[in-house]
Amino acid sequence: MTDPVLATHGITKSFGAVQASRDISLSLQPGEIHAVIGPNGAGKSTLIAQICGGLAPDAGRVEFLGQDVTPLPTRKRAAMGLARTFQISALAMEDTVLQNVTLGALGARGGPLGLLRNALKDQDLHDKAMTALDRVGLAGQASTVTAELSHGQRRQLEVAVALTLSPRAFVMDEPMAGMGTEGSHRMTAFLGELRDEAPILLVEHDMDAVFALADRLSVLVYGEIIATGTVDEIRNNPQVRAAYLGETA
């Protein structure tokens, strides 16, 4: 196996008596989609927060591009190319779609921000932003105020912002949430191609999408990974069927 792009080693996190993460080790290999599934309250959001930098683990470490990033804040990890999309859209709702993606391009460029230049007339930023919008199919919505977008379109915009970061890995928290069947299919197809650009750690409730996309699956129950394997291995794992799939199938 090649070196993983992103990995956690024995991450543990407790909130009082509740153990939200118990000794979680998982890895994201180049070119793969690794899905994390689990029932509500299994600790998926806590896991993502520790990977992306919002929460510090009590024990264990997070490695990204071969570097221990556990002590780094969110923005440093983002600057290294860890692109995250949120379950509940984290966008500047009063701004236009274009302004939101431009912000991503701005963050990716690094260095000091200009004080007097017009951000939206910066050709380099504009090109990057429009390319990203075009890829997710939102180019026609560039001047729409974000609050006016549908839920599905906000998801697409989240992904577009992540694309502007020239990411080395994606961490996506339920990118299909709130999308209709058609939108969900389109997003599935899009993510399928995206894995060649950078691997994706995907947390998703939509099982059709997960089974269609994932190269590997990890099942998280009560803060613990009870199984990791290919789609077929997970489908046939009796422990998983009992703990999780039995409830939804």
């Binding site: 009063e94 701004d95 701005l106 990716a108 951000a119």
Partner: protein, 327 residues
């Protein structure tokens, strides 16, 4: 041209036309009123960068207004008494030169804003309001208890400071100076709002997490905004002291902070010309209602209540309609 830019242009023209008319008809008091509007609007433009762009509800901007005022008062009082500010380790003398005073006021209030910002921007919401208020009060009580520069009584400067090539004692010329600085600050504010910095700051106000996940620091963005904001309000303070030829601890009072915020709320939070509309309305009310009753603040309070309840975009919002996303 959008409706808002038309209203903005009308406001600016009006602010220039009133004193010109007063000058032609020889009514110097009206010119002084217009000068007050320009200076207080400038203080408001400063706060609006923190409040409107950055979402930072600072109730301590009187600190910067006062620092600007005292920068002027201290430099000019030493100049008028021909005593140096300090002799060791090197000689610093007072000055009556406006540009030197302005630079001092801007640098001093920017440094104060940096210090206050570093400490208070670690908090948010009500805590931020309280901590900025507390810093403002610290300056207020310090000014009261500092006998070297008048303490509670303040400092009088007998002659207005000099600006090369102008007679600053002529009300219309002094108005011109204040108006020009206001226009400059408005221009700066407009550029900032559209700049990459403004884009990121504005996004941080709406969703700090978003800004962090693209690799930027909301804290640094806000700190930069707070420093620029404080510097502009400090410059307004220096002009205000020069207008009155007097500086006292009341420039540091929390009521002053409140007044600057009232300009913005009256005019429209986050609207470029909100502080201009707000300050103009405030001074007009103060002048006319203040003539009717000492308790004119009651009417101001009622008006403010009306604006907050029924016209969240302030006067500008009422006239120009919903804010349109700028491009």
């Amino acid at each position: 041209m959008s409706r808002e830019s038309l209203i903005n242009a009308a406001l600016l023209l009006g602010l220039a036309a009133v004193p010109l008319y007063a000058w032609a008809t020889d009514e110097p008091f009206t010119i002084t009123l217009a000068t007050r509007v320009a200076i207080l609007a400038l203080a408001g433009v400063g706060l609006n960068i923190a409040l409107g762009l950055g979402g930072l509800v600072s109730l301590g901007h009187a600190a910067f207004f006062g620092i600007g005022g005292y920068a002027m008062g201290i430099l000019a009082s030493h100049a008028q008494s021909y005593t140096p500010l300090m002799e060791v380790p090197f000689l610093i003398e007072g000055t009556k030169s406006m540009p030197v005073i302005w630079i001092t006021a801007v640098v001093a209030s920017a440094l104060a804003a940096l210090l206050i910002g570093v400490l208070s921007l670690r908090t948010s919401g009500v805590y931020f309001i309280m901590i900025t208020l507390a810093f403002g009060q610290m300056f207020y009580f310090f000014a009261i208890s500092w006998p070297a520069y008048g303490g509670e009584d303040g400092l009088s400067i007998y002659i207005r400071n000099d600006f090369p090539g102008l007679n600053t004692l002529d009300p219309i010329q002094f108005f011109g100076i204040c108006f020009a600085l206001l226009v400059l600050a408005l221009w700066l504010n407009a550029r900032l709002a559209r700049s990459p910095f403004g884009l990121a700051l504005n996004a941080a106000r709406q969703n700090a997490q978003r800004v962090e996940t693209v690799g930027l620091s909301p804290f640094r963005l806000r700190l930069a905004a707070f420093v620029i904001s404080g510097a502009i309000t400090g410059l307004a303070g220096a002009l205000f002291a020069d207008l009155n030829r007097f500086v006292s601890p009341t420039m540091f009072s929390w009521q002053m902070s409140g007044e600057i915020m009232v300009f913005i709320i009256l005019g429209g939070v986050g609207r470029l010309y909100g502080p201009v509309a707000g300050a103009a309305l405030f001074i007009t009310l103060e002048h006319f209602l203040g003539g009717l009753s000492e308790f004119w603040h009651i009417y101001l309070g009622a008006l403010l209540l009306g604006v907050v309840l029924f016209a969240r975009g302030g006067v500008i919002g009422l006239l120009a309609g919903r804010k349109v996303a700028h491009d």
